[in-house]
Point group: C2
Chain length 410, copies 2
């Protein structure tokens, strides 16, 4: 086995309010500036925010050494990114969605995981490393895919609906896998009995949150509206988000799983309770610290020889496995659909990065493995938008409906 | 002179994400629960949130020992409370508002400060302590007054407009005084030359932010709308909030002054840019940690003998000085107006608490002085709502207009 990786990051405790504010300002603005540059180049801004962290962080220019407080804020940022994602995922739509989306999601999870796991084992890595890479190759970023499809005005097409439906299931299945990964992180290596219990626990948690919890919220709803507190509905939602994040972490899953399901539970009440703009405000403020922090932990000097080769191969596997895995259940619908769905499912997003971070923080995963995952995330996220634009060319007029944006939520 | 007070609070560094999340959850929920109880008793919920901190904090039950991270989050909460307040204060309305409001504001500042300062000096306290108490007696809480007047449906009356206009000026003048206080805090005692420079600096900062900065924002506006970043207007506003908070702290004023003026600058664009719901989301999330933290620093065992007497006398002075000071310029308008405006200006709010906290954190002010200020804030905030309800009885029908809520912003 291997020992814990060396840790070069010395967290600096801020000495005064000024220093904390300056740190917050510098990180927020640099992340958003590079993000804006990326948007102008028609690249996902999330990658720009990560790049800002890489460039200004301790491994490159060394201008910003995030303090412990910043890492705590970043953690909270991850929680709210997933809470926001959950708020846009209605459990009822999820239950109603067709077989196809589930098939696409499952096939799109099994193949990448197996290929990622197998390749890392072939390279001679430990099982724990291989599981982390496999898990990181699983999750599809709904956010990036949805935004690209929306920009192309093809959200109302059947293909787009399959992609978005599958991406949502993918996220949930990815979350369950993350629970397993977190279990691995806690024990240093996969413990198969414990892993079985965790999977059952995670599945039970997910089923409860999808089928039971929304009914509880429906019963609670009149009482929430009777509360005297200003903005009571927002307060209740935030309290549940914090509680479920803690609970998920406590029973051995990652905190963000709890946050995602907390969002899911309130998704049907989000418009009525006007939750979205207000929670989005919090997410907009906190998320850049999370993506920046991801960058600061990436040692770019890692990308030499072996590691660079591995990163490129893992990236290729990540693309191929999603295109084949997700396309397979759709072979009867023609090659155009196969490739569109396959490519649409390719971008790995926040979840892949969080998986990697869980591994790095618990010192189970080497810095080189972390670098491989971040590299793979960047490549898959960069490659999808132009490819999708190419594959969907000419599709726009045929299926477009006036209320296209109303279709985003499946 | 006196030495720094003993510090019994041992900040606990959270060891894991679970602990931080549990801490956040426990504080958020307990603050909001006691706040809800207060709302039901028709008392201001802010006091409930402080009480939760007093009760669960290290000086009473000792269940929650806030970590350093929580205190950082609390600091950020104070920044956003003032940023939100600034967003609801249009500089144009402020410039347009009548002489009367300014007279009421100035008289309502001079008298409380002098009485507070004089009493503390008479008690034998140091000048720095006396200045802190005087400064804390100055600021009127616009939020609480506006909510009570809104509940009574009298916002459109001339009296209400004078109160709200004066309260806004009061806040600004209170901010300037806070800058002075922060200068005292930095040097241990009032340095009159330095104090003069600081006052000029603060006044220049305020005038720049009221008269010049909004024009800059007006010119910037088309460019902000051209930005590719999602939610660009919110991002720009948040960035300026962090920057001005840091700048204000850097040039020797309190960070929240910068946050307040950052809000003021964007106030005219808040509806168009849809800033309010999104910034309010952040404030709703962060503010409870600030008010809870205020409570955790209050040693209730301080309230014995001397200190309790001083707290009661300071509270009485705070009420009498505001009623007389603010009522004086209105003697020509009848006793009803004098008392309504005077009582309406009585509740001290967040600013008084922040003044006290600045003093305590920089170890310039004794714990007993901090306790006196918190006591005075609680008393004046508790006494105003029922008194206002009594003084405005029967007023409702005469002046009420359908669009009463639209009148909140002067």
């Amino acid at each position: 086995m291997h020992t814990a990786p060396p840790c070069h990051i010395l967290p600096v405790v801020p000495h005064s309010p000024e220093q904390l504010l300056l740190e917050l300002f510098a990180i927020f603005v640099s992340a958003k500036l590079v993000g804006e540059m990326f948007e102008r180049l028609r690249l996902p801004s999330v990658l720009g925010e990560i790049l800002a962290g890489i460039a200004l962080g301790p491994y490159a220019l060394g201008w910003i050494q995030p303090s412990d407080t910043i890492y705590s804020v970043a953690e909270l940022g991850a929680v709210f990114v997933l809470f926001s994602a959950g708020l846009e995922t209605s459990p009822r739509d999820l239950i109603r969605v067709g077989n196809k989306a589930v098939q696409v999601a499952v096939a799109g999870i099994v193949l990448p995981f197996i290929l990622g796991f197998a390749y890392m084992k072939l390279r001679g890595d430990a099982s724990s490393e291989a599981i982390f890479v496999g898990a990181a190759m699983v999750a599809t970023s709904v956010g990036i895919t949805a935004r690209v499809l929306g920009d192309l005005h093809v959200l109302s097409t059947r293909t787009a609906k399959i992609i978005l439906g599958a991406a949502v299931f993918d996220d949930i299945l990815g979350m369950l896998l993350l629970a397993v990964v977190a279990g691995v992180a806690a024990h240093g290596r996969p413990q198969w009995l414990h892993l079985g219990i965790l999977t059952a626990e995670a599945a039970g948690f997910a089923l409860f949150m999808i089928f039971v919890a929304p009914r509880i919220v429906r019963r609670m709803e009149p009482r929430v509206e009777q509360l005297s507190t200003h903005n009571a509905s927002l307060i209740v939602a935030l309290a549940l988000c914090l509680f479920l994040s803690w609970l998920a972490a406590q029973i051995g899953m990652a905190a963000i799983i709890g946050a995602f399901f907390a969002g899911l539970v309130f998704a049907d009440y989000a418009p009525q309770w006007n939750l979205l703009p207000r929670v989005d405000g919090i997410t907009e403020f906190l998320a850049p610290f999370f993506f920046f922090a991801i960058g600061t932990r990436l040692n770019v000097r890692m990308f030499t020889g072996n590691v660079l080769v591995a990163a490129i191969i893992v990236s290729l596997l990540a693309i191929v496995s999603k295109v084949i895995g997700c396309g397979l259940p759709l072979l009867g619908e023609g090659w155009a659909t196969v490739f569109r769905v396959g490519v649409g499912m390719t971008p790995r997003g926040e979840v892949a990065l969080i998986v990697a971070l869980v591994g790095l923080q618990s010192r189970i995963v080497l810095q080189s493995t972390y670098a491989i995952v971040v590299f793979m995330t960047a490549v898959t996220t960069l490659i999808a938008p132009p490819l999708l634009r190419y594959l969907f060319r000419g599709e726009k007029q045929e299926h477009d409906q006036p209320s296209a944006t109303a279709q985003v939520r499946l």
